[in-house]
């Protein structure tokens, strides 16, 4: 790991990295006007915080939708507290949730959690805040574009919220929005108007992500501090970089699919409607399009989107585990290759969402093969996290607990993924609760635990105050227990054949006799407890924001560049652009007094530390 410096000249602060530009060291003054400072800000930190807050607010909305869903699944058609009185008090409804409302719930829960919570929090929030700080830049490459990328989100949020109140209500074609259900105006009440607003809203959100990803790629390629070689970047930056590439290539496909569906709805085109299609006694359309085409386009984006939601989480967790294990990240270069491998394979596995669509088995087998291969880079990641903990001096902070929770839950989510890879098994469990369990182990057990870990870890840097560790730990343990209570049984009822997206599982005697009702109620109780547990987090977040103890520059004794500047960082991030001397994970280095060695601090013996070549 410690390579003696031999061929790159004298070690030390003066050695410039390959992309250094010592002349570019001027500092722009911070904008003085409130509006340009906090609202229409071009400062990446403010934009990151904007994404963070809007993401967390929508997280609460999405969570409440989920609790309403679970209520209906456990006690179908029973009056629901609060909502029943508010919405369904008419005699004709009799305090019962109508089935189309249930359909809206699962559609909007997924849409909000994916497009308004996880992606904006990970790439928009943490990507924005961390990338310039971690590579030693003063801001993004295109600050105005960055501002624009945030300001594409509010229209999306307004449209998606407004869609609940139009005639027919919000979209209810599922977050996948398969045509013809989605474009035929009379197919469902939500297809009347809500679906159009849904499409426009997602277009805005997608453009926001495209603009962001262009910015991230450029920033990471062009603005690294002197000495910040590619293989000295922290895993978070690597993950954000590769995620941005994924988004930049996959999102245009979704955008075009959404535009085509919008045109099918409002302009009478027939991209996705077959010949003579008629839904709900509407006059037949001319047709000539293919509904399967939409599925291909949609999954060509949406499978990579799953990796957009997990790769940044993996990067941040890698940094957090290394910091709190006081040990270099195990196998840094294989970890980078694994992220790149997952991203690359992510583009050629989308067909496994469509095994049952009547796909030719030769094509299906190809997708089966590529999907199986995803296990390889995933295994590298998991075992290397374990290797990082091995022989460490582990500090169990709230951030570390959440990161370890991420690793454990990602294993279950990853291993339940192999059931979807093997097509004969997938055909049986497709569109059942097995899939719902799997995706929640990846997106809640994975991404969301990583988001909690990242918030606890970077909160001192973002807001300059510490979060309460004890509350953080209580929140973690309760979340961990209730999360598993909510989602694990889904695999079992799913295998039994419990279809997803059904408003009433009790109509089938098949699901009635088999303990499924009891399990559904058990899951619902856990889901509510899980929801209420988040109030601890909300309290901790808000209280620490207002009255947490002031944070020092580097409270966790971490190595990466963001910890070398003040908490919170000044408008210009770094007074002088830092010069990076070695890799980011030099913890417990023999010969150094402390158990960490920031990337800017020279090694006493005059060595330059590079990640090992393995």
């Amino acid at each position: 790991m410690h390579e003696p410096e031999s061929h790159e000249g004298a070690p030390g602060v003066t050695a410039p990295g390959p992309e250094s530009d010592p002349g570019h060291d001027h500092i722009h003054p911070a904008p003085g006007w409130f509006l340009t400072r906090y609202i229409f800000a071009s400062d990446h930190k403010v934009i990151g915080i904007q994404f963070l807050f809007s993401g967390l607010i929508f997280f609460l909305v999405g969570g409440m939708l989920a609790m309403a869903l679970r209520w209906q699944l456990a006690w179908p058609w029973k009056p629901m507290p609060i909502l029943s009185r508010l919405l369904w008090a008419e005699p004709s409804l009799g305090y019962q949730m109508p089935p189309e409302f249930y359909n809206k719930l699962f559609t909007m829960h997924a849409t909000i959690m994916i497009f308004f919570v996880i992606i904006p929090l990970l790439t928009g929030g943490f990507g924005n805040f961390l990338i310039p700080l971690m590579i030693g830049a003063r801001d993004m490459a295109f600050p105005k574009l960055n501002m624009l990328s945030y300001w594409f989100m509010p229209p999306a949020m307004v449209l998606i919220t407004y869609s609940f109140f139009v005639e027919g209500g919000s979209a209810e074609a599922g977050w996948t929005s398969y045509p013809p259900l989605a474009f035929a105006r009379w197919a469902t009440p939500g297809s009347l108007n809500g679906q159009t607003l849904w499409l426009l809203s997602l277009l805005f959100a997608g453009i926001s992500s495209i603009l962001g990803s262009i910015n991230y790629i450029t920033t990471i390629v062009m603005l690294r501090a002197p000495g910040m070689k590619l293989f000295r970047m922290p895993m978070t930056v690597w993950a954000m970089f590769i995620t941005a590439i994924l988004q930049a290539f996959a999102l245009p496909v979704l955008t075009s699919a959404l535009i085509m569906q919008t045109l099918d709805r409002v302009a009478g085109t027939n991209f996705f409607s077959p010949v003579g299609l008629t839904v709900a006694n509407a006059p037949p359309v001319v047709g000539g399009g293919g509904p399967i085409l939409y599925q291909h386009l949609f999954w060509f984006y949406s499978h990579p989107a799953v990796y957009v939601m997990i790769l940044p989480a993996m990067g941040m967790v890698s940094d957090i585990i290394a910091t709190f294990s006081r040990k270099p990240l195990f196998g840094y270069k294989p970890m980078v290759c694994a992220i790149a491998g997952i991203a690359g394979l992510g583009f050629i596995v989308w067909g496994h969402h469509m095994f049952q669509s009547g796909m030719n088995p030769a094509l299906g087998a190809t997708f089966m093969m590529s999907t199986m291969l995803i296990a390889l880079p995933s295994a590298i990641k998991v075992f290397n996290w374990l290797g990082t903990m091995w022989g460490g001096r582990i500090q169990f902070t709230a951030a570390m607990l959440n990161a370890v929770g991420f690793v454990s839950m990602f294993i279950i989510g990853g291993l339940s993924g192999i059931f979807m890879a093997a097509s004969p098994v997938d055909i049986h469990i497709h569109d059942t609760y097995f899939i719902v369990g799997h995706i929640h182990y990846v997106l809640f057990g994975g991404s969301t635990f990583a988001i909690f870990a990242a918030i606890h870890y970077w909160f001192p840097k973002i807001f300059g105050r510490m979060m309460n560790e004890r509350l953080g730990m209580i929140h973690f343990f309760l979340t961990f227990i209730f999360f598993n209570g909510t989602f694990y049984l889904m695999h079992i009822v799913g295998m039994h054949g419990h279809p997803r997206r059904i408003a009433d599982p009790t109509v089938y005697s098949y699901l009635q006799g088999a303990g499924v009702i009891g399990m559904n109620q058990f899951m619902t109780v856990n889901a509510f407890l899980l929801g209420f547990t988040q109030l601890i987090f909300v309290f901790n977040f808000l209280y620490s924001l207002a009255a947490g103890p002031k944070a020092s520059e580097n409270p966790w004794h971490a190595n990466t560049l963001e910890w070398t500047t003040s908490s919170p960082p000044a408008h210009y991030n770094f007074e002088r652009i830092p010069v990076v001397l070695h890799a980011p994970y030099e913890y417990s280095v023999p010969g150094v007094d402390e158990d960490f060695l920031p990337q800017t601090k020279p090694f006493p013996g005059g060595q330059r530390l590079e990640p090992a070549h393995s």
Partner: protein, 316 residues
């Protein structure tokens, strides 16, 4: 709550082989979850910051170990791939003697008709031990035909035919679901598959008098929609005869070239709805489209009639 039979019935010839693969995957998943889960806990406890353990030379990288944990999932993954691929091909090709049943899905019911003519709604009666092939289409949105006890699922698409086959092995009543979300009342779109002894099935088919078979009804529709005017003995219009066409290659005029397509259900359907898209070589594209004029159920009957002509030879 604990009377839960962990598993759906195994009632088709696919079920046990799919379950074998499923259990193999389950074993792999449990094994690695437990091993890694224990490793997480052991490492977390052993190397917690307060504990006094030997931390000299902790590993930071190892090509050898990386190679091992690439190789193990690779080998297991390829075993699953080969196993899965063999099964997948198996599930795709129906045996030649399969019983043919037509299925039309619509919001929110299944319309099912047997070749012998008997039709039913939200129920499918089939004989045990006999391979059954469903030819399915949808009248509106996408549905999906799902029988957990048979471990089969196939999307039912508007505007095209998909097929599904299975061989029930155990008499009984099994739940049938629509697995693809299809709108407001998706959750009540389901029904039953009734697997009967062959003799009972024969009786069931003719219960309530033996009506016309699908092919016979198709023959009536063939006249009613004036197909016969051209496609039978016509002196004024030159149109291809349909005897013996089904399942055979048909020459298609494609600009100057002639290519061949097999006259399967999809081709016949397209030829009725979009007659100008694939014109048989040597004929003028003069047939009108029947798009929007024939319902999906009638279309299946007409196709059954054309199929029934496959044994015959055109009389010139």
């Amino acid at each position: 709550m604990w009377n839960f039979p962990l598993f759906p019935d195994q009632a088709s010839s696919h079920a046990s082989s799919i379950d074998a693969l499923y259990f193999f995957e389950w074993a792999v998943a449990i094994f690695f979850s437990i091993v890694i889960g224990i490793a997480v806990v052991v490492l977390a406890v052993r190397y917690r910051s307060g504990s006094k353990v030997d931390r000299t030379n902790p590993p930071t990288h190892s090509q050898f170990m990386e190679a091992i944990w690439i190789a193990i999932p690779f080998v297991i993954g390829m075993v699953m791939f080969a196993w899965g691929a063999i099964l997948f091909y198996d599930m795709y090709d129906p045996p030649g003697d399969a019983l043919e049943v037509s299925v039309v899905g619509k919001q929110w019911m299944w319309y099912i008709q047997h070749a012998q003519g008997r039709a039913e709604i939200n129920e499918l009666h089939i004989p045990v031990g006999q391979a059954v092939k469903l030819t399915m289409t949808s009248q509106d949105v996408i549905h999906s035909f799902f029988v957990p006890a048979f471990r089969v699922k196939q999307d039912v698409l508007p505007g095209r035919y998909t097929s599904l086959w299975f061989q029930p092995t155990k008499p009984g009543r099994y739940h049938l679901f629509c697995a693809e979300y299809c709108g407001t009342n998706h959750s009540v779109m389901g029904g039953w598959v009734e697997v009967m002894e062959p003799a009972a099935y024969e009786r069931w088919l003719t219960e309530g008098g033996s009506g016309p078979s699908m092919a016979e009804e198709g023959a009536r529709l063939f006249l009613q929609h004036h197909c016969a005017g051209c496609h039978r003995d016509s002196v004024t219009v030159k149109a291809p005869r349909l005897e013996g066409v089904y399942g055979r290659p048909v020459p298609i005029q494609n600009g100057k070239d002639v290519s061949f397509v097999t006259a399967d259900v999809a081709y016949i359907r397209d030829s009725i709805l979009r007659p100008k898209s694939q014109v048989v070589a040597g004929y003028e594209p003069i047939m009108p489209s029947f798009e929007g004029q024939i319902s999906e159920t009638d279309l299946l009957k007409i196709i059954a009639y054309i199929k029934s002509l496959s044994g015959k030879e055109a009389v010139r």
